[in-house]
C-alpha cells in the first residue's frame, strides 16, 4: 500500500523508493511528519502532491485553492469504532461510539508540528459542506490520491487494504514532501466477494442492503474480478444512516413548527426522538450514524476486528 501504517516506530516511508530517498531532500521530514501522525492516533498516513487533484476536481476545490502555494497534502486515516463496538449486540453502541474524531486530532497535531518545526503553512483541509452538501475538499478523494485506499461497492466508502473502513482527515501544507503513489490494486472487491458474486450475483454488502429490495446498493463485477458498475442510493442511505443527526433535527423541527395544537407541539418538543436529535447535534456526538450494515459484512479489515 501507499501510505505508512502501524505504530510510529515502523512509520516507514510509505510508497517512497530508495531512488526517491536519493532524489528528495525532504525524505527525513516526511518520515518525521508521518511519525507525528501515527503517534497522534493515526492508523495510516499517506502524502499526495497538491497538483494530483487537478485531474479530478473543478477549480476552487484544489488544495492550492484553499491554501495558496500548497505543495503537499498529508492524509490520515483512523479506525473509528473499537472491535468490541462492532461486536456489541446493542446497535446503539455503534451509533454513539462509531466515530471519535481521532483523525481530526491527528491532523491538528501534524499541522502544528509543520508550522512550529519547519516553518511552512499548514491547515486542516475543510471537509464539511459549506454550500449544499458539497465539501470544499473531499476526504474520500484525498484518501485515494494519497494511496490509502480505493472506492468500494459499499456506498463508495474508501476501503483501506489492511483496516477496511477508516475515517479520514487531511492537512494541506506549503511544505514540499516526497509523495506516495496511489494504490495500483483495487481493495474492493475482496476475492471472497468475487466468489460470492459469482455464486449468488451479489456481494456481501449488496446482499445486506440490496437496492432492488428497498436497500441502497447494487453493482456488477466483471470477468476480470473488478467493479464494472456500481449503484448507490445516497438519499435512501442518508435517511437510514442518519436518523438522529442534523437532518432529523431539521425534519422534525419543521413538523413541530407546523403543528398548530400547542399540546401536541409540546409533546413533540420533549419527545425521545427530538431529544435524541438534539443530543446528536451536541458535543456528546450521540447517534452520529445509525447504520453500519454494509461495513459489518465486509471482509476487508475483518482480521483487525477479530480479537479475544
Amino acid at each position: 500500500m501507499g501510505g505508512a501504517e502501524g505504530v510510529a516506530s515502523d512509520s516507514g516511508l510509505g510508497g517512497a523508493t530508495p531512488a526517491d530517498v536519493d532524489q528528495d531532500p525532504n525524505i527525513a521530514e516526511a518520515e518525521d511528519v508521518k511519525s507525528v501522525a501515527l503517534k497522534s492516533g493515526g492508523d495510516v498516513v499517506g502524502i499526495a502532491p497538491a497538483d494530483r487533484w487537478d485531474a479530478y476536481v473543478p477549480e476552487g476545490c484544489r488544495p492550492y485553492d484553499i491554501l495558496p502555494e500548497a505543495k503537499s497534502v498529508i492524509v490520515v486515516g483512523c479506525r473509528g469504532p473499537s472491535a468490541g463496538a462492532w461486536l456489541s449486540p446493542d446497535h446503539r453502541i455503534m451509533e454513539v461510539n462509531g466515530y471519535d474524531f481521532a483523525n481530526d486530532r491527528a491532523v491538528h497535531g501534524i499541522a502544528d508540528h509543520i508550522e512550529r518545526k519547519y516553518g511552512y503553512y499548514a491547515i486542516q483541509a475543510p471537509a464539511l459542506p459549506t454550500g449544499g452538501h458539497q465539501p470544499p475538499m473531499s476526504m474520500m478523494l484525498s484518501a485515494v490520491l494519497s494511496g490509502l485506499g480505493t472506492r468500494s461497492l459499499a456506498a463508495n466508502i474508501i476501503l483501506n487494504p489492511k483496516y477496511g473502513l477508516l475515517y479520514y482527515s487531511a492537512c494541506i501544507t506549503t511544505m514540499p514532501l516526497p509523495v506516495d503513489p496511489m494504490l495500483e490494486q483495487d481493495v474492493c472487491p475482496h476475492p471472497m466477494c468475487v466468489a460470492t458474486y459469482k455464486k449468488i450475483g451479489k456481494t456481501p454488502c449488496m446482499a445486506a442492503c440490496p437496492a432492488d429490495e428497498g436497500g441502497c446498493l447494487d453493482g456488477k463485477i466483471g470477468e476480470d474480478g473488478r467493479i464494472e458498475e456500481s449503484y448507490y442510493n445516497r438519499e435512501r442511505c442518508v435517511s437510514r444512516a442518519m436518523n438522529f443527526g442534523i437532518n432529523s433535527f431539521q425534519k422534525y423541527l419543521e413538523k413541530i413548527v407546523n403543528e398548530d395544537d400547542s399540546e401536541k407541539r409540546s409533546q413533540m418538543v420533549y419527545s425521545d426522538f427530538f431529544s435524541r436529535s438534539c443530543s446528536a447535534l451536541s458535543f456528546y456526538k450521540e447517534s452520529v450514524a445509525q447504520c453500519f450494515e454494509c461495513m459489518r459484512v465486509c471482509p476487508i479489515g475483518r482480521d483487525e476486528r477479530k480479537l479475544k
Binding site: S82, G84, R92, F274, L281, L307, K308
Partner: protein, 289 residues
C-alpha cells in the same frame, strides 16, 4: 484497591492501564468485575454491551481545578467543568486494550439512551471499581479527591477486580460532627429538600441511614442551558403568538446560551455545584496558595 497517583510498576495489563490512565491525566483508576453489576437493570449491564465482558475499567478525573472553585464568577464553573476529557482518555485506553492485548473493548457512551437512561451507569461502575462511594449529595465521591468525573469501558480482558471501597467517603468526619450538633450536613443545609432544595437525609452512627434526592428539581437547576433548556425555550418560542416577542426570545441571551451549550463548544453544561462546593471530602486539593 484502585490506584491513585503513585508511580506503578508495569507488571500486568491492569497495572499498565492504570499507569497509562494516570499519565493521561486521571486522578484514579480501577477495575470492576463485569458480573458484579447486579444492581443495574437488565440490558444496562456490561455484558449487554459486550458479550463475554469480564472487566470494566474505570477512570476518574477532570474535576474542576482549585482555581475554578475559587473564582467568584459562578458562571466560570458553568463553562469549564465537563467530563469530555476523561471520556476521551477512557476511549483511548479501550483502543489500547484492543491493539496491544488483543481483547475486545467497548467504551460506555457518556450520554443517555432511550428514556434518558444511561447505557450503563458509570457511577455504579466507579463504585464497583473502588474509585469512590455514593454520597448524600449524589455524586460518587473519591475518598482522597472528592468530586470528579468518571468514564469507563467494558472489556473481555480478565483483570483482578478492585471491588467497592471498604469505607464510605461520605459522610466525612466534619459532616458527622455537624450532624450531631445541628441535625444537618453541609450539603443538606445548602440545598434542603424541605425548603425547596434537592437533598434530604439522615445520619445514624456516623453513617448515612436515609437519603432523599429530588432528581427532577436538581436537573431543572443544574441543566438550565443544555438540551432540556433548549427544548423548554423552543416550546415557549413556538407558543408565543406575538411576532416581535418571538423574535426577541430567539435572539435572547437565554436561547443563545442553550445553543452554545448543546454544540461542540459545550458551554454552560452545569449551573449548580453548591452541594459539592461545601463538601469537605477532597477539600485539601481545592485549597491552594
Amino acid at each position: 484497591m484502585s490506584a491513585s497517583s503513585e508511580a506503578m510498576v508495569e507488571t500486568s495489563p491492569k497495572d499498565e492501564l492504570i499507569n497509562l490512565a494516570l499519565k493521561g491525566g486521571a486522578l484514579v483508576a480501577g477495575v470492576a468485575d463485569a458480573a458484579a453489576f447486579t444492581a443495574a437493570p437488565e440490558s444496562h449491564r456490561p455484558v449487554d454491551l459486550l458479550p463475554g465482558a469480564k472487566s470494566v475499567f474505570v477512570v476518574g478525573g477532570a474535576a474542576p481545578r482549585a482555581g475554578d472553585w475559587r473564582s467568584p464568577n459562578y458562571q466560570h464553573m458553568e463553562v469549564t467543568s465537563i467530563n469530555d476529557r476523561i471520556t476521551a482518555l477512557s476511549l483511548k485506553l479501550a483502543h489500547h486494550v484492543e491493539r496491544k492485548f488483543g481483547y475486545y473493548s467497548v467504551g460506555f457512551p457518556p450520554g443517555v439512551d432511550r428514556g434518558q437512561q444511561p447505557f450503563v451507569s458509570v457511577a455504579l461502575a466507579a463504585e464497583l471499581a473502588g474509585c469512590g462511594t455514593a454520597s448524600l449529595a449524589g455524586p460518587v465521591l473519591n475518598a482522597e479527591y472528592g468530586f470528579m468525573y468518571y468514564a469507563a469501558f467494558a472489556t473481555t480482558l480478565p483483570m483482578e477486580p478492585d471491588g467497592p471501597p471498604q469505607e464510605s467517603a461520605c459522610p466525612a468526619p466534619e459532616c458527622v460532627e455537624m450532624w450531631n450538633a445541628e441535625g444537618t450536613t453541609p450539603c443538606l443545609s445548602t440545598c434542603p429538600i424541605d425548603k425547596g432544595g434537592c437533598l434530604g437525609g439522615r445520619l445514624e452512627d456516623g453513617k448515612v441511614a436515609e437519603r432523599s434526592y429530588d432528581r427532577a428539581r436538581c436537573t431543572s437547576r443544574v441543566y438550565n442551558y443544555w438540551v432540556p433548556g433548549f427544548q423548554k425555550a423552543l416550546d415557549s418560542i413556538l407558543s408565543e403568538s406575538d411576532k416581535e416577542s418571538r423574535r426577541m426570545m430567539i435572539h435572547s441571551t437565554f436561547f443563545t446560551r442553550t445553543l452554545w451549550s448543546i454544540t461542540y463548544a459545550n458551554v454552560s453544561q452545569g449551573q449548580c455545584y453548591e452541594c459539592m462546593r461545601v463538601c469537605p471530602v477532597g477539600k485539601e486539593h481545592r485549597t491552594l496558595k
